[in-house]
């Protein structure tokens, strides 16, 4: 049974007022009707009481408080004490650089799309950077990440070079998937990015399988393996059968996986509240026997605190965690989405909670780095992104010979032709002109 004494619910950190979010919480209550928005402090308190009434797990851990809350309280008393900060300078700069890379890259994607350099469905991650950075920067190279179609930034955070991602978006042969995948299918064997899936929910079982391999390596192959898998997906996916089926299997077998819900409240034009009977997604974790955590996904430090705990649980073999990150996408669902349904006031509210601005403020206020150092990072990232576009532009488009490659790992799968030879031995096959 997964409900061991070590599980704990980290209550919504916003519930305990901190210097950063206090002035914002009242604002959010006025703008949105209380029932429609789960990020505000007053609702956070409501969440706490709901917890105690309904969830047996929270009853057990009701006295436990999040680490970040304790640290913040200390910080209020003595903000000059560097040892109470959540991050070191190095960590802060890494996080900052990663989020700026994500933002700059996506902005460039939009530009390139409107200039006709990339096509099809392109889904940008602007606004959600704290989730990707907060989680993925904790991982080792061998850990796996599975995402959805909104995967550019997950790939970048995991370490796939910007050049390869941009090339892939341009459909060039130097892309990470040789131009065969596109925006929605970013894969990297080297960096263990297992995709990139166009149908929502489709990646969750794949992530569960990667976590299963990790457990199998440990228990059957007796290897020293503590690899963890992160599955990222949105609020819309949480109404999909595959989500629930995988929560069950992951908890049942205590797989080393963290289910990260990027709840940006909208599934294209469908509001999360119109689609979901109980919109509190984190609650669905305990129903399957794993901890469910809700965290402010616009704050990279809070996400990171939760991630440290969840990834640590998985690595120690204690099983899966469901983390609901409340976040927001600043742009439409995709570059083809006119984004007419979302209330401008809601968008404005979240624009004030831009995760990059928040981290910058934290770094500067706590004197972790200077304005100049941050500007240097921004400049460096601009160059990286410019370089990736240049590289992608100069790269060749796939030749016809690439058409039939990679359909099968073993190309004998195309069968035996009328002449008795395997079709893949036909020279027309390598030219890409063979009829298969």
């Amino acid at each position: 049974m997964a409900c061991s004494a070590t599980t704990r619910i980290i209550h919504n950190p916003l519930a305990i007022s901190s210097s950063r979010s206090a002035e914002k919480s009242d604002f959010s209550c006025k703008i949105l009707s209380p029932s429609s928005f789960w990020g505000s402090a007053s609702l956070g308190k409501k969440l706490l009481s709901v917890n105690k009434a309904i969830s047996p797990i929270s009853r057990r851990s009701a006295t436990v408080v999040a680490v970040s809350d304790v640290v913040k309280e200390k910080k209020l008393k003595s903000s000059s004490s560097v040892s109470n900060l959540l991050i070191t300078k190095e960590e802060g700069l890494v996080l900052y650089e990663d989020m700026v890379l994500g933002r700059a890259f996506e902005d460039m994607c939009a530009q390139m799309y409107y200039r006709g350099k990339m096509f099809g469905f392109v889904h940008l991650y602007n606004g959600q950077e704290a989730v990707s950075t907060g989680f993925i920067k904790l991982l080792k190279k061998e850990d796996c990440v599975v995402s959805t179609y909104r995967d550019h930034v997950h790939a970048l955070s995991k370490g796939v070079p910007a050049r390869q991602v941009m090339s892939e978006l341009f459909g060039k042969t130097t892309g990470c998937c040789r131009g065969q995948g596109g925006s929605m299918h970013m894969f990297s064997k080297e960096h263990n990015v297992l995709g990139g899936f166009a149908f929502i929910g489709e990646g969750i079982p794949v992530a569960t399988g990667a976590a299963f391999t990790s457990k199998y390596k440990r228990e059957v192959l007796k290897e020293d393996c503590d690899e963890v898998t992160l599955a990222f997906f949105g609020d819309g996916t949480c109404n999909n059968g595959q989500f629930f089926e995988c929560l069950n299997m992951a908890a049942l077998w205590k797989l080393p996986i963290v289910f990260v819900v990027e709840n940006n409240l909208w599934a294209i034009g469908m509001s999360h509240l119109r689609a979901t009977s109980d919109p509190e997604i984190w609650k669905k974790g305990p129903a399957f026997g794993m901890p469910g955590v809700h965290v402010d996904g616009m704050d990279v430090l809070k996400v990171r605190e939760v991630a440290i705990e969840a990834v640590g649980r998985a690595r120690r073999g204690e099983g899966p965690t469901l983390v609901e990150c409340e976040t927001y996408r600043f742009r439409g669902h995709s570059l083809a989405d006119p984004d007419e349904l979302r209330d401008p006031a809601e968008k404005a509210h979240y624009a004030t909670r831009d995760p990059i601005t928040a981290l910058k403020k934290y770094i500067l206020e706590n004197k972790l780095a200077s304005e100049a150092e941050l500007k240097a990072i921004e400049k460096k990232i601009d160059e990286v992104v410019e370089d990736s576009v240049e590289f992608a532009d100069k790269s060749p488009v796939p030749a016809r010979s690439q058409l039939l490659e990679n359909v099968f790992a073993d190309p004998r799968g195309f069968g035996i032709g009328p002449d008795g030879k395997y079709r893949c031995e036909d020279p027309k096959f390598t030219e890409g002109t063979a009829q298969v």
Binding site: F199, F212, G241, E405, G415
Partner: protein, 307 residues
């Protein structure tokens, strides 16, 4: 499973129960509950799990308790098994085997009597094979496990009780080759899985009547072995396809098209395709008998085509 510790089995009741048709009997005792994994009833998700495991180094064999249940896993089989090697630019391989009992049984009702080979055949990136004898079941299973491609292996509910002497030494068959069951001169009969036995029964009658049919078990449903098939067509000039698939969009339909395209000049008569009726398989025994092709129909078809 002895040879390669990465080979594992996943499916409903494959472990402690030994499989719905006892195919995996005893394996859980020998290899443990993780290598022979009893899954909850979630076909789409555990098939997807097998894909994820395959991408990260394991070689899973997924069992559909009945092949029909794999319709629930169509998303994962089509999008992930079939496509990920391509969309990842060749970075990830998916060496899974998806297998299970299918076909029309004895009054199992419509949903347990499905032939999914016709539904799966268009998926790019997968191979499909159908076994029909203990000998080729073993050989094809080994080949499928060792293949780097995702393979769907169709077994038949009524063929599990067959007994045959098979070699002690190890053998692996080719996934892409067809099997010459009975060489002949007058007509080529192409078949697979259970219909092979109806064809052989008809062949006995035909031989008594003076005909010499060549019977080929195509085994590889996707891709077709056009060499073996072609050589036969060039010899006999007449083709009859006998299959358990439905008529519309079945394996026979594809095979007819492929033969017409490649060997049209060698045909003396239009290809005859004998398939199951396009009806949901009825429960009543008599009706069920009339949905699938019976030996008498095969005999009649041969007599017709050889006139």
């Amino acid at each position: 499973m002895d040879r390669d510790p990465r080979v594992c089995v996943m499916g409903e009741d494959v472990g402690h129960y030994g499989g719905s048709y006892k195919v995996t009997k005893g394996l859980a005792d020998k290899y443990g509950d993780l290598r022979v994994l009893d899954t909850p009833i979630a076909e789409n998700s555990f098939t997807g799990m097998a894909v994820g495991a395959a991408m990260t180094g394991l070689r899973p064999i997924v069992e559909g308790m009945n092949m029909g249940f794999l319709l629930l896993a169509f998303n994962q089989i089509s999008d992930n098994c079939g496509m990920l090697h391509y969309t990842s630019g060749g970075q990830f391989t998916i060496p899974t085997v998806i297998r299970g009992p299918g076909g029309v049984g004895r009054q199992l009702g419509a949903e347990h009597s499905q032939r999914l080979e016709s539904y799966f055949q268009s998926i790019p990136g997968i191979q499909m094979v159908a076994c029909s004898t203990p000998y080729n079941a073993k050989g094809l299973m080994k080949a499928a496990i060792r293949s780097e491609n995702p393979v769907v292996l169709f077994e038949h509910v009524l063929l599990y009780n067959l007994k045959e002497r098979i070699p002690d030494e190890e053998y692996v068959l080719s996934l892409e080759e067809a099997e010459m069951v009975r060489p002949g001169e007058h007509v080529t009969i192409l078949t697979y899985s259970r219909m092979r036995y109806h064809v052989m029964q008809a062949a006995k009658t035909l031989v008594n009547k003076g005909y010499d049919p060549e019977v080929i078990d195509i085994r590889s449903l996707k891709p077709f072995d056009l060499y073996t098939i072609g050589n036969s067509v060039k010899k006999t000039h007449r083709v009859i396809i006998v299959e358990e698939c439905m008529r519309t969009g079945g394996i026979g339909a594809s095979l007819t098209a492929a033969i017409n395209e490649n060997f049209h000049d060698y045909l003396d008569a239009p290809i005859v395709c004998l398939s199951s009726q396009d009806v949901p398989t009825p429960y009543a025994g008599t009706l069920e008998e009339w949905t699938v092709v019976q030996p008498a129909q095969i005999v009649a078809a041969v007599e017709q085509i050889c006139r």
